[in-house]
């Protein structure tokens, strides 16, 4: 209960302070976190779950196991399990990892930056200047991951 209300507070706080979408190059890392949301609207956990699963969007299951998604077939194990991830990371930290994991884990991590233009060379023509996810999708995934408390892992 206490945790839930704390979480609600964390999520609600930035919502109140929302102004404009933050461009990929403008995201400010505050230590290990990106405290300010990058999109105008608050994240929608349901939509975030879609992005998490969708192979053309987040494709997060390619690397992360996640018990919350029933019948998820063949999740990869290149990254850690997402079970209880919200008990280990705060939303600002989750946001930072999604925006650009290399800022948090260093340049060697396999995890792509989902909201950065600091990417590899020779980007495909149809992807140039684009981020993998939109600002709103980043917020949606953050909101979704924030629901994955330890208790929800079965």
């Amino acid at each position: 209960m206490k945790r839930l209300s704390a979480l609600a507070f964390i999520l609600a706080l930035p919502t109140a302070a929302l102004a404009a979408e933050v461009a990929p190059g403008e995201v400010s890392f505050d230590g290990m976190a990106v405290s300010e949301p990058v999109a105008k609207s608050a994240g929608d956990p349901e939509a975030g779950r879609e992005v998490f699963v969708d192979r053309g969007l987040g494709n997060c299951l390619a690397c992360h196991q996640n018990s919350e998604i029933e019948n998820a077939q063949f999740p990869g194990n290149v990254g850690p399990s997402m079970d209880g991830v919200a008990s280990r990371w705060e939303p600002g930290q989750l946001r930072a990892i999604i925006v650009n994991a290399k800022e948090i884990f260093g340049p060697d991590t396999i995890m792509p930056g989902f909201y950065t233009l600091d990417v590899g060379v020779d980007v495909a023509e149809d992807r140039k200047g684009e981020t993998i996810l939109s600002a709103q999708q980043v917020e949606d995934v953050v909101a979704y991951l924030a629901t994955l408390e330890q208790e929800s892992a079965q």
Partner: protein, 152 residues
């Protein structure tokens, strides 16, 4: 959003096609177990298959749905009037449930066969045997079809 997703997936698929023969996997709407049931019923003449006698061997996990090894084996002397007439293979989750039908004769010696099949996704595969005395038997196995990495 759905539109965008599909477009992106399509772009990836098109890219793949320029490099190699694109996978020949069925991509259209899939059959339902009911349709497979109907096709089985046509094969058996409406008879409800019993369990036993027939064994379907399939991998628990197929590394690629395009090439899945499958074997069927039916207990039978395969002599005189006691032999296996035919065995049909159905895939419950493919666009069309029919996969293949094997016809045996007393010269077959054994009612066993192995082939390689295409499975569009994780699904049940069903084998139904029709014996010379008119009785029918079936076996069913789930095959998990793997999903590839970043490129699909």
């Amino acid at each position: 959003m759905t539109h965008l997703t599909r477009r992106k997936l399509f772009t990836l698929a098109a890219g793949a096609g320029t490099l190699a023969v694109a996978a020949n996997l069925p991509r259209t709407a899939n059959a339902t177990p009911e349709e497979a049931q109907k096709a089985i019923s046509e094969f058996t003449g409406g008879k409800e298959p019993q369990s036993g006698k027939i064994t379907l061997t399939a991998p628990e996990i197929a590394e690629n749905g395009n090439t899945v090894p499958i074997s069927i084996s039916v207990e039978s002397e395969m002599t005189g009037d006691d032999f296996v007439e035919s065995v049909t293979l159905m895939a419950e989750g493919n666009p069309n449930p029919e996969v293949a039908t094997f016809l045996f004769t007393p010269l077959s010696g054994r009612a066993e066969a192995t082939t390689r099949i295409r499975l569009a996704k994780t699904q049940n595969v069903v084998a139904v045997a029709k014996m010379s005395d008119g009785s029918v038997y079936s076996d069913r196995k789930e095959v998990k079809v793997t999903i590839g990495g970043c490129g699909g």
